[in-house]
């Protein structure tokens, strides 16, 4: 919201206070100043120039060579504007001036071969408006060389203040002035009403009826007759322009002035266009359309609060007036509306119409029901002064249920309890009074505070404590240097995640964070996705059902960047619908934490001392197993292997705990990869981390290193290709003596020399005992026995012996 400091100073005397101090006090009391335009500083170099002569630029049609008198000398200046003429007084920027729009410096320049010693300015270059249609032409009576800050009264400071939604009272100059009055401990001066009324009684000219008093608790009308619609005087136009408003005519400008002065939105109707000279406030009973004064047809939903006349709608209450009753040049008689509408009613309308106006913005945050009369009278007064109108006698004030100030008790002790320091009672009383709150001392520790209706945000004791804290300054609240830490047990629900991340990175994985919002096609890949009702775009309309599709998007993007070798992991939530229809409870969907590993490309790349090594299923399996062993779940989970494809994988394995699948992964199907424009192999493994975390890992305990020597034997067999390594291993385990402790495979190969559909598997067997040295004999016996059994069981042939 733009605020003019000169305007503020009409209501509170700040003449002895620096602009910097005002800005910092505002920001530090909760009215954050986001931008400052200090005109005096901004325009300090600009002067009034006199265009003595002009001639065409010899080398450019659109340029003019002007002789500009700056009060001392004649300067040659090139101007590009079409409206420049000899005899004009203009805004002249001499060499060395910084132009506010774009912040560039005027230097001596040669333009198409002709020298130029300054610039003649347009309004937009000075940030006075967006107008760039031509240079600004000034009053010819102004003295050449005079500073424009003086000549044009550009000596204001314009503040852009961010007003938080809880402070509707600060959405006006008087509102901001009231805070400043409290901050600097000064009086607030509100303009007095000086109204001359005619003999004609308002009740004979108009009538008001509220048929929806819940949404319109108060409606005031004031009538002014025989007005002359014309341009506003300069001071009024200046005031509005400085805060970014475009002047229209005297009536509209006056209502805008009052809105920005005291925060009450007003609307002026052409009284003669109101059927039966009557106002009825009611809500729509059917869907209709309505033409607002911006010449747009608006669709009105059911129960939209409307201002009607005797026959039809004439305005959308609190939002915008209608075309059918607006003020035009021929308007003679005016009805001024000054009403209080219920905030949520206006908010609903504004949201439904997608239309936010200065008026609706204030109504939906909460205006003051009890300033309506003042605002209407001030408006009538200004109209009579600036539009020669005759104010009808009296006022129409429909206010069925008067809204009175709330009363709240404030304890000084509670203030200290919340803030951690004592603000002395006298100071508290002063702050509250300066803010316009009426106080009464109840007891030593207690005040009764009456909250005026312009502060709807102050509802409780705590709200008063905030007022005290912010006006007295948060800087005055001490910063403790000691805190108590209780010895109760601390928990960290992210601890396991951290351990997992550490393990994954140690295994060479980089962590990704993908957007859980994705297209329906991608999300549907791994489950029944939940749709966003109001998505930003179609490619973000669903929540992911697993981490896989996000990872594939990332892989695809990286490959396009030329990065083809990737080892990535992610920890994140996935979401699936578990019931049909609308989500009405936490039982209708499942949010769980997942963990995904993906690898693609080479595990080692070709370098001077290593060959490139394409990642494969066994890399994935090995990484997943190392990961599980590092988090102590290696002997808890059981593998299942699937050689046939499912929707995602060509072949895969699962990790199970008591029949429950906790994770699965394998080689991704080409069909799936194609969906993401990936044409290299990708291996992925995804865990249900929520479930994985619920399993207790085996506690670690120390095992002494072996004291007695091991005896190691190996053998290799030629077997049918279909025989699985794991089956042979399990068979050996079952049939061997208890002295055989480790069985591992050290070679696998297939060759025509072995025979059709044959392969060779070679095993290393480690025999040992923790308590004694083994004899060669007992090992040899077991070893030979195994050879016989394996040969028989698997129709195998011992190799090499």
């Amino acid at each position: 919201m733009k605020i003019s400091l000169n305007w503020i100073k009409e209501f509170v005397d700040l003449s002895d206070i620096s602009t910097q101090n005002i800005i910092s006090k505002l920001t530090m009391s909760g009215l954050e100043v986001e931008d400052v335009i200090d005109q005096t500083n901004l325009y300090k170099n600009f002067i009034v120039g006199f265009v003595k002569e002009i001639e065409k630029h010899p080398n450019a049609d659109k340029l003019t060579i002007c002789k500009v008198f700056d009060g001392k000398d004649d300067l040659q200046v090139i101007c590009g504007a079409a409206n420049v003429k000899a005899g004009q007084k203009v805004v002249f920027a001499p060499i060395g001036t910084e132009i506010p729009n774009g912040k560039f410096l005027i230097k001596k320049a040669k333009i198409r071969g002709v020298e130029s010693y300054g610039m003649i300015c347009a309004e937009d270059e000075l940030l006075l408006s967006n107008d760039h249609s031509g240079i600004m032409v000034l009053d010819e009576k102004l003295d050449s060389g005079k500073s424009i800050t003086e000549a044009l009264n550009l000596n204001d400071v314009i503040l852009d203040i961010a007003i938080t939604p809880n402070r509707p009272d600060a959405l006006s100059h008087i509102g901001v002035a009231r805070d400043l009055a409290a901050l600097f401990d000064r009086d607030l001066k509100i303009p007095k009403i000086k109204l001359t009324e005619s003999e004609e009684i308002i009740q004979n000219l108009a009538a008001v009826e509220i048929s929806d008093p819940v949404n319109c608790p108060r409606y005031i009308a004031k009538v002014v007759k025989d007005v002359r619609i014309k341009e506003s005087p300069k001071w009024l136009k200046d005031k509005l322009e400085k805060i970014g408003l475009r002047p229209r005519n005297n009536i509209v400008d006056i209502t805008n002035l009052i809105l920005h002065e005291c925060g009450q939105p007003l609307h002026a109707f052409d009284l003669d266009k109101l059927n039966n000279q009557k106002i009825v406030v009611k809500s729509t009973k059917s869907e209709t359309t309505f033409a607002t004064l911006d010449s747009k047809e608006r669709k009105l939903p059911l129960n939209t609060l409307m201002i009607c006349d005797g026959k039809r709608e004439v305005a959308i209450a609190g939002v915008m007036g209608g075309e059918n009753s607006e003020i035009t040049e021929s308007t003679k008689n005016i009805l001024i509306e000054s009403a209080y509408f219920h905030p949520s009613s206006i908010r609903k309308t504004s949201k439904a119409l997608g239309l936010s106006t200065d008026a609706s913005y204030r109504f939906e945050r909460g205006t003051d029901p009890n300033i309506t009369k003042y605002a209407a009278e001030r408006c009538a007064q200004l109209i009579s002064e600036l539009a020669d109108g005759k104010v009808a006698k009296g006022i129409i004030d429909v206010y069925p249920k008067v809204i009175n100030p709330k009363e709240i008790e404030l304890r000084f002790s509670r203030t200290t309890q919340i803030l951690g320091y004592e603000v002395i009672p006298e100071k508290i009383k002063n702050i509250l009074s300066r803010l316009g709150l009426a106080i009464k001392v109840l007891e030593d520790d207690k005040l009764l505070v009456s909250i005026p209706t312009f502060r709807p945000d102050i509802e409780r004791e705590i709200d008063l404590i905030e007022e005290i804290a912010r006006i007295n300054g948060y800087d005055n609240i001490p910063t403790v240097s000691k805190i108590n830490i209780t010895l109760e047990q601390k928990t960290d629900e992210t601890e396991v995640d951290e351990k997992i991340r550490q393990t994954a990175t140690a295994l060479g994985f980089y962590e990704m964070i993908n957007n859980p919002l994705q297209s329906e096609e991608d999300a549907a890949l791994t489950g029944n996705p939940i749709k966003i009702q109001n998505p930003l775009s179609a490619d973000m309309e669903c929540l992911r059902t697993s981490l896989l599709s996000g990872a594939l998007i990332t892989i695809s993007k990286n490959i396009r960047q030329g990065v083809k070798d990737l080892k990535l992991f992610e920890i994140g939530d996935s979401f699936t619908k578990t019931a049909d229809g609308e989500i009405e409870s936490f039982n209708d969907f499942n949010e769980k934490q997942n963990l995904l590993f993906v690898i693609t490309g080479n595990t080692t790349s070709k370098t001077w001392n290593s060959e490139e090594n394409k990642s494969d299923f066994y890399d994935l399996k090995g990484l997943v197993d190392s990961f599980l062993s590092k988090i102590s779940l290696d002997n808890v989970l059981i593998d299942s292997y699937y050689s046939a494809a499912n929707v995602i994988y060509d072949y895969y394995l699962t990790k199970n705990f008591k029949e429950v699948v906790l994770g699965s992964g394998g080689k991704l199907q080409n069909e799936v990869l194609k969906q993401f424009d990936i044409n290299q192999d990708v291996y992925g493994f995804e865990f249900d981390l929520t479930a994985l975390k619920s399993i207790e890992s085996k506690p670690k305990s120390y095992k002494e290193p072996l004291k007695y020597p091991k005896i190691i034997r190996d053998f290799a067999f030629v077997l049918d290709k279909s025989v699985k390594y794991l089956d042979v291993k399990e068979f050996i385990k079952k049939k061997s003596s208890a002295l055989l402790k480790v069985i591992s495979v050290f070679d696998v190969f297939e060759s025509e020399s072995l025979g059709v559909d044959k392969k060779s598997l070679a095993f290393t067997l480690e025999y040992f005992d923790e308590n004694r040295t083994l004899t060669e004999d007992e090992v040899e016996r077991d070893f030979n026995n195994l050879i016989i059994l394996i040969t028989k069981e698997f129709n195998a042939q011992l190799r090499g012996k």
Partner: protein
């Protein structure tokens, strides 16, 4: 004369051989003392000029010297050559080392780790909560009435009338307080969503850390002390800070904490929008209305709460200018941290 020279050369030999460490040093010594024109040979030359009577004694002395130093020289020579210190190796040591890849946590995770460890040190627990939340936890119980303009502060993605993607991690405060009686002291990191157009400066999803402390006698002064301690540990102990009144429905009084812009040191720059200050977190005293929802007695207990955005912190800390880069997962970016 010769007698004196014998003593000198003996001393010089032992001093030279002390610093021998390579075959080349050994060779230098051989040349200096034992070559044809070496110092020892020169002594024998000098013996020729010695008067007859002294010849046998000095000759004997000279022979003793030669035997002694030669033996010691051979010993040192053997030791040096067998120690391997000097074996010439044919490896080109300048070739690059083999590649070993250690992955890394995402920079946002690393930033969060740092924040977590500071608050854990201040006695906070760490808690999680769901991202798909109910309107009740995300808004209503946090004192955002329906149809209140405060809801406009957080553009929301809805999945149904009553369920939405949480717009802040603050709902976890309610979840903790529902489960626990005071004292409650915890931070709640997590992912949040806002229905805002994606640009260099904003993304539809980001991360926050919320925190809460409720007990008897918790004051605004303690809120200030705790957050100042955090900021000094995280941003550096010499920072300047300020607390500015602000508005959040779930705290009253509310504040925003600014620190001096560490890029321009308070002079004003593009990053701090010429104010010299950077806003780093929002905070305040827990609103009594919030306590009502979790059945805490607000006369007995008071508390403070705070929240900060992790992306914003990381952007500033690492000079990143486009928030989207966090979620692109370009390996060339991930590898840098």
């Amino acid at each position: 004369m010769l007698d004196k020279n014998i003593t000198e050369i003996k001393e010089s030999f032992y001093s030279d051989i002390k610093s021998v460490s390579s075959i080349k040093d050994v060779e230098d010594i051989r040349i200096k003392y034992f070559s044809r024109n070496g110092l020892v040979s020169q002594l024998f030359e000098e013996l020729k000029d010695v008067v007859k009577e002294e010849k046998p004694i000095l000759g004997k002395k000279l022979n003793l010297l030669r035997n002694e130093v030669t033996a010691y020289f051979e010993e040192v020579k053997d030791r040096i050559s067998s120690s391997g210190l000097n074996k010439e190796n044919k490896l080109d040591l300048t070739l690059p080392g083999s590649e070993y890849i250690v992955g890394s946590k995402h920079i946002l995770t690393q930033t969060l780790d740092e924040i977590k460890s500071i608050f854990k040190g201040l006695g906070f627990s760490v808690a999680n909560g769901p991202e798909l939340e109910s309107d009740y936890y995300n808004f209503e119980s946090l004192n955002f009435p329906a149809d209140h303009p405060a809801r406009d502060m957080q553009d929301t993605f809805f999945v149904s009338k009553d369920f939405l993607l949480r717009t802040h991690t603050t709902p976890v405060q309610i979840r903790i307080m529902e489960k626990q009686t005071p004292p409650v002291r915890a931070i709640m990191p997590g992912r949040v969503y806002r229905n805002e157009a994606v640009s260099a400066r904003s993304y539809c999803m980001f991360h926050q850390v919320d925190g809460i402390y409720v007990d008897t006698d918790v004051t605004f002064a303690e809120l200030k002390g705790t957050l100042v301690s955090f900021a000094k540990q995280f941003y550096g102990s010499d920072l300047k800070y300020r607390f500015r009144p602000s508005f959040f429905p779930f705290t009253e009084p509310s504040a925003e904490m600014d620190i001096t812009c560490y890029l321009c040191h308070g002079k004003g720059c593009k990053i701090c929008k010429n104010s010299g200050w950077l806003e780093i977190l929002g905070c305040g005293m827990v609103d009594p209305n919030v306590f009502k929802f979790v059945n805490y007695d607000s006369e007995r207990y008071t508390g403070y709460a705070f929240g900060m955005g992790i992306e914003r912190i990381a952007l500033l800390k690492y000079g990143i200018t486009d928030i989207r880069i966090f979620f692109d997962n370009d390996l060339r970016f991930l590898k840098q941290f």
